[in-house]
């Protein structure tokens, strides 16, 4: 039941779901949720490989860094969302087509 491939399949499902969320949703916060799912799929892969393939803890360290980066990304991303909302009064992604104003 538990093997490298089972973890990879779970991670693949997470990735696909994250992808669908990113593409299908138009709400920026929802897209950030999708990004979190994708990042977690990657981190899960790292840890799984570290147990089943490399037998050292580098994968754990990498997934820790992924967690750090995800935290930083969501902080910055949500700050941008709030700022965007202040300016446009909407957080629809299709409104964010210009680099200024």
């Amino acid at each position: 039941m538990m093997s490298l491939v089972s973890y990879l399949i779970i991670s693949l499902i997470l990735f696909i779901v994250g992808l669908v969320v990113i593409i299908a949703r138009k709400n920026i916060v929802a897209i950030l949720l999708g990004i979190e799912l994708i990042l977690n799929a990657a981190a899960l892969n790292f840890v799984a490989y570290s147990r089943y393939v490399t037998n050292n803890l580098d994968g754990h360290v990498f997934s820790l860094f992924i967690i750090v980066i995800a935290a930083a990304e969501s902080a910055i991303g949500l700050a941008i969302v709030i700022r965007f909302f202040q300016i446009k009064e909407t957080i629809h992604i299709d409104e964010a087509t210009q680099l200024r104003n």
């Binding site: 992808l19 990113i22 593409i23 992604i93 964010a96 087509t97 210009q98």
Partner: protein, 732 residues
């Protein structure tokens, strides 16, 4: 014997703690935390004194040292060793220097609590002073050039802050900027030298450098066409020149006197400027290997003599002392250059003591009478007996009068210089080193006594400058009635302690104390026993010790220091007999010259039977008063003439050459091309190109409008699809 973090770290850390506390909470502490700074320095003094006692009274062999390291950070990956070690390196020199720095710093802190009382910058002053002291101590105890450089830069920053501490004075700001910028020139070279060493040796610890010298690892290595040894030695010495204010990077030091006087005493007299001498001494084997000692000696001689001449005509009491500092630093550098290793180091110590005392005395005068122009002082002997006593002792010392410390060290440097210049078979032009050295010694005696006579003797010329006396806040005295010394212990005790240490016996004496200490040619001078140029062979394959490991060597098994009859001369072509005679000649000459200087000063300023120089050589005096026009040279010639001239040349080049030939010529060529292109334009471009492009753009636009929508999700989809097709095709 046990050297652990616990009993070494307080030397550096206790002032740092005081710095941190004062920096953040200083304004809330009673007396702005000056007691905390003073206490912290006292703690480091206690710990340093313990090291001193261990080493000096332990009578270890001269080349005994303690070197303990720990890994600061380790970025080694696989076979690539990239590890940065920090550590301590303590030998006799370190022990002496630590004690000197912390002791002098403690006395200066104590004095400053009196001097800076009620000053608006009280708190900030006592924030930077301990940090500065700790950086100096850290530099002394460092075991490698990298951490030395870190502490070196902290010192640079602290001196910047302390010179410019009166931020509202424009001159103070300028002076601090000047000091920072000038020393930066040297620091860049120092860093270059350190990096070059690191790249080639893989380590910058002293012991590794010494071992590399002994093993001949430098042989055949070159950097930019010069041999590695010469390159690194020169770079490191240039760094030392910046810090020790050697010609031509000396311009910052006289201006650095804008800060409070005790700050000047610590920074620009006693300790920081000796950092350059310190690194030159530590890297002495490298200097010898790189064959630049003659250069060092010449630079030192020029500084020593030049600064002494300028000091003769200064009227500001602090300026005289500043130039005398320059001059004395020159002597130390001469000492390094001519191979007078232990005398140069001894001069560092003796000079630190008497120069600190001189500056504190000057501070005492300035703070009491609010005047620092010597022509307006005079006759202060009656009013300030203690200050007079201390300052006279130090003046005797710096002037090289026998039985005082300055004589012991300077005489030995000059003796070695004499040998180096005339008898060692060097280039005859190097005879300039002892000549300038002796001349400078005479001038030193002259200008120091000029300062003494103008300040403390003769009639009181304070006259009616009562505007100075008033902002002290006491209403009960007027300008022409100088108040007597307040006799504050914090003011006078440091002066008296320091003046006691200007006696030669402390430095030339014997440790075992057999009978009365012999000053002349004593066979058992402790300095000679304890300090000598590092013997590089000893460091080959020396085992590393880390903190926490107990010292493998047991104290009882260590060889004791044994006096071997040595001259202390480490320069080229030593010949013991000739060196001895050079020393005797040097001693006699320097005594004669010193007394001549004193006598001339006496005639000029007490008897007034000879006119001061100014009236006879107005041109020369003006040159001196303008400090050889160095500042003007840097500003007028290098910046104005040099840069503006370059500008003018570039402008001429632009207008005359580039404009005429390139631009106009290009225009002519263009005219021809234009005709050709007109035809081409009409026929080919307009018909096919323009109209065709319009059609193409229209077509292309249809695609781009869809693709470049600014919709991030669409971009994302394309990214995924492309990536997926890539993965599918490359067959991973």
């Amino acid at each position: 014997m046990e050297y652990t973090v616990g009993n070494i770290a307080p030397i550096i850390l206790s002032p740092v703690i005081a710095f941190v506390i004062n920096a953040f909470f200083g304004s809330k502490l009673p007396r702005k935390g000056d007691w905390l700074a003073t206490l912290s320095i006292f703690i480091s003094f206690i710990f340093s004194a313990r090291v001193f006692g261990d080493f000096v009274f332990g009578n270890f062999a001269t080349d005994y040292f303690i070197h303990k390291t720990f890994t600061w950070f380790d970025l080694s990956y696989g076979a690539n060793i990239w590890k940065v070690d920090m550590g301590i390196y303590i030998d006799n020199m370190t022990a002496i220097m630590l004690t000197m720095v912390s002791g002098v710093a403690f006395l200066i802190h104590l004095f400053s609590t009196w001097y800076m009382d009620h000053d608006e910058k009280h708190g900030r002053f006592f924030t930077f002073l301990p940090l500065f002291t700790s950086a100096m101590l850290g530099m002394v105890i460092s075991d490698n050039l990298f951490s030395l450089f870190c502490f070196w830069e902290i010192m640079g920053f602290c001196s910047y802050s302390l010179i410019g501490i009166y931020v509202k004075k424009e001159k103070a700001g300028d002076a601090s900027l000047k000091a920072f910028m000038t020393t930066r020139v040297g620091d860049v070279f120092l860093l270059l030298g350190i990096v070059a060493l690191w790249m080639t040796l893989g380590s910058v610890a002293y012991v590794d450098i010494y071992a590399a010298i002994a093993e001949g690892k430098f042989a055949g290595q070159t950097v930019m066409g010069i041999s590695l040894a010469t390159f690194t030695a020169l770079c490191i010495f240039l760094g030392a020149m910046g810090k020790s204010a050697q010609f031509p990077l000396h311009v910052w030091l006289p201006d650095a006197m804008m800060g409070p006087t005790p700050g000047s005493a610590l920074i620009h007299a006693a300790t920081m400027v000796t950092a350059g001498v310190w690194i030159s001494l530590r890297m002495y084997p490298l200097m010898v290997l790189g064959d630049i000692t003659w250069f060092i000696a010449v630079i030192g001689a020029i500084t020593a003599f030049g600064a002494a001449t300028v000091a003769m005509v200064q009227t500001d009491i602090k300026a005289v002392l500043a130039y005398s500092t320059l001059s004395q630093l020159g002597y130390m550098i001469i000492g390094v250059g001519v191979g007078s290793y232990n005398a140069a180091f001894m001069h560092v110590i003796t000079h630190a003591v008497f120069k600190a005392c001189l500056f504190l005395s000057a501070g005492s005068i300035i703070h009491s009478v609010h005047e620092q122009e010597m022509p307006k002082l005079g006759g202060l002997r009656k009013y300030m007996p203690y200050t007079h006593f201390a300052m006279m002792a130090c003046t005797l010392a710096i002037a090289g009068i026998p039985f005082f410390s300055g004589f012991v060290s300077k005489d030995r440097i000059l003796g070695d210089a004499l040998y180096f210049g005339f008898m060692a078979g060097q280039n005859p032009l190097l005879a300039i080193v002892p000549i300038l050295g002796f001349a400078g010694a005479g001038l030193t005696a002259f200008y120091m006594f000029r300062m003494m006579f103008l300040t403390f003797y003769g009639e009181n010329r304070m006259g009616h400058h009562d505007s100075h006396g008033d902002h002290h806040g006491h209403g009960d005295h007027h300008g022409h009635e100088i108040h007597h010394e307040h006799l504050d212990a914090r003011q006078n005790v440091p002066l008296l302690i320091l003046s006691v240490f200007t006696l030669g016996v402390w430095f030339a004496g014997s440790l075992t104390g057999q009978g009365i200490v012999k000053v002349f040619g004593s066979k058992t001078e402790w300095f000679k026993i304890l300090v000598e140029a590092p013997k590089v062979e000893r460091f080959v394959n020396h085992p590393r010790e880390s903190f926490g490991s107990t010292d493998a060597r047991v104290k009882a098994e260590l060889p004791k220091a044994v006096y071997v009859h040595q001259t202390g001369y480490a320069g080229p072509n030593p010949d013991e007999h000739k060196i001895h005679s050079a020393h005797v000649i040097g001693a006699i000459l320097s005594i004669i010259i010193a007394f001549t200087g004193v006598f001339i000063a006496f005639l000029m300023y007490i008897k007034k039977s000879i006119n001061p120089l100014a009236s006879k050589f107005p041109g020369f005096t003006t040159t001196l008063e303008n400090k050889y026009y160095f500042d003007n040279f840097y500003i007028d010639v290098i910046i104005k003439k040099g840069l503006l001239g370059l500008n003018r040349f570039l402008s001429w080049f632009d207008m005359g050459i580039f404009d005429r030939f390139a631009v106009d010529g290009w225009a002519a060529v263009n005219r021809v091309l234009f005709k050709a292109s007109k035809w081409f334009d009409n026929v080919v471009v307009d018909a096919i190109g323009v109209d065709g492009t319009g059609v193409a753009v229209n077509l292309f636009n249809l695609v781009l409008r869809i693709v470049q929508s600014g919709k991030i999700q669409f971009y994302f989809i394309m990214l995924i699809v492309v990536l997926a097709s890539y993965i599918w095709t490359v067959n991973i």
